[in-house]
């Protein structure tokens, strides 16, 4: 009698635990239950993430996150982050998703998952008008500003051996370093050049070397098939209906090519 009870009890316990264990890796379920999605966004990288003149979060990543939360039917909680802390935010469960100019790279794919890309993002080496450049070799012995832990940082460290890399923590600091004359060359996203040039009309940037084109995707923790499936589907739908293209155009003034992005996403 006792043993039957114990056995039943154990079976019941196991049954009770099963869904809990399964639900634990189901961030999508957790998001729906909580009624809010926590999305990490860097608000110091205009025009992707910034604070507008009414001190509200704005930018293409912010609008993308808002659209995502709205379609998911939950409230959006923006978790502000910085370039180097985007991935740790996911790993330490401080955010459910990252929508923050996160480009897909093999190194990053080892630790997190990516959705289908929602935008593209060419990165360039740009310099002052009076500083001509045509190849990485021309960078030898020159100070080149980058934001730490970005793909530009990794690429230049590898490709431009002779260059003296000056690393800043975010785009705003790097832009200030250029505007104030600390550096004449920087490696960054092409989309940023107009904003940086606007800071000091006496010092405008010209794009010199196209480093590579990145695909920006929503970052999520590994082993989240339900969430990944939903986000992939959402990105595809909104690329096709032009909503994501409209957000990009509004902030960057350039069109994105949905067909190319869908192809890159498989």
């Amino acid at each position: 009698m006792t043993s039957t009870l114990t056995r039943r009890g154990l079976a019941g316990l196991a049954l009770a635990l099963l869904p809990v264990a399964a639900a634990h890796a189901d961030t999508l379920g957790d998001i729906r239950k909580a009624g809010k999605v926590r999305i990490a966004i860097d608000l110091a990288i205009p025009p992707f993430g910034m604070t507008d003149d009414k001190m509200q979060p704005a930018g293409s990543d912010v609008d993308t996150a808002r659209l995502l939360a709205q379609d998911l039917g939950v409230k959006l909680e923006i978790v502000t982050t910085t370039g180097p802390t985007r991935i740790p935010m996911l790993q330490t469960n401080k955010a459910d998703l990252v929508v923050s100019t996160l480009s897909i790279t093999p190194d990053r794919a080892k630790v997190i998952d990516f959705s289908v890309p929602y935008a593209d993002h060419p990165s360039v080496v740009a310099s002052l008008k009076s500083v001509p450049l045509s190849s990485y070799a021309d960078l030898a012995g020159k100070k080149v500003a980058v934001v730490r832990a970005t793909t530009q940082d990794t690429d230049l460290t590898r490709e431009a051996k002779g260059a003296q890399l000056v690393r800043y923590e975010d785009d705003a600091t790097m832009a200030l370093a250029f505007a104030s004359g600390q550096v004449d060359i920087l490696a960054t996203a092409r989309s940023l050049l107009p904003a940086i040039s606007k800071k000091n009309p006496a010092r405008t940037l010209e794009s010199r070397i196209v480093m590579q084109t990145f695909y920006l995707a929503v970052g999520l923790r590994k082993n989240e098939p339900a969430l990944k499936g939903w986000v992939d589907g959402w990105v595809k739908t909104n690329l096709q209906n032009g909503k994501l293209g409209a957000i990009y155009k509004k902030y960057h003034g350039i069109d994105i090519d949905p067909a190319q992005l869908l192809k890159a996403g498989g």
Binding site: T85, A149, R167, Y168, T173, Q182
Partner: protein, 227 residues
Amino acid sequence: MNYQFDFSFLAERWPDFVAGAWLTIQLTVVSIALGFLLGTVCAMGRAYGGPVLRRVVGFYVELIRNTPLLVQIFVVYFGLSSLGLKLSAETSAVIALAVNMGAYTTEIMRAGIVSIQRTQLEAADCLGLTRLQAIVHVVLLPAMERVYPALSSQFVLLMLASSITSQISAEELTATANNVQSDTYRSFEVYIVVAVVYLALSALYRAAFWAIGLGLFARKRRLGTSL
């Protein structure tokens, strides 16, 4: 809690940490020395100077002690550069840290200097000490001995505060940690390593200041008691 610690990056990246720690040491030793000199001169000015000099020093001390160090560093690095004076990140860091150190040293040293009684100076006069001898042996050294524990704490605090110079691209210990963290994604482990290195540096600095103190203060060395 099922976090897998992985310190394997140390095998490859330890020279980076050594280089970062070395730059931290260089930056802070120079700023401590310059800041101490600046602060001692200002403290003399504040204790013995005329009303104008006292006001000027007081303004400097209040300005620096009531604004964030990060803002001071940005003003030196970006501000001076906008005015056409281009300084490297390391030079800017040393200037900002020394000016900051100077303000705190001023107040600490002033406390020591005002604790020296006037009669001590009169005694020095009677013994025929020159003005300079009296300042060095009767005022400054005993004043410093009295406030030495507070001074060495402030020096160690400055060493720890130097971590924020990574913001203006000085490649010191914290900047190294940020670099390694961004390459390896082992953020937790990297910052544990850096915390241990800072702890070791603090211990090293305290030991060094203790040894310097023994050298400077004969009373402490011979009798084991301070003033």
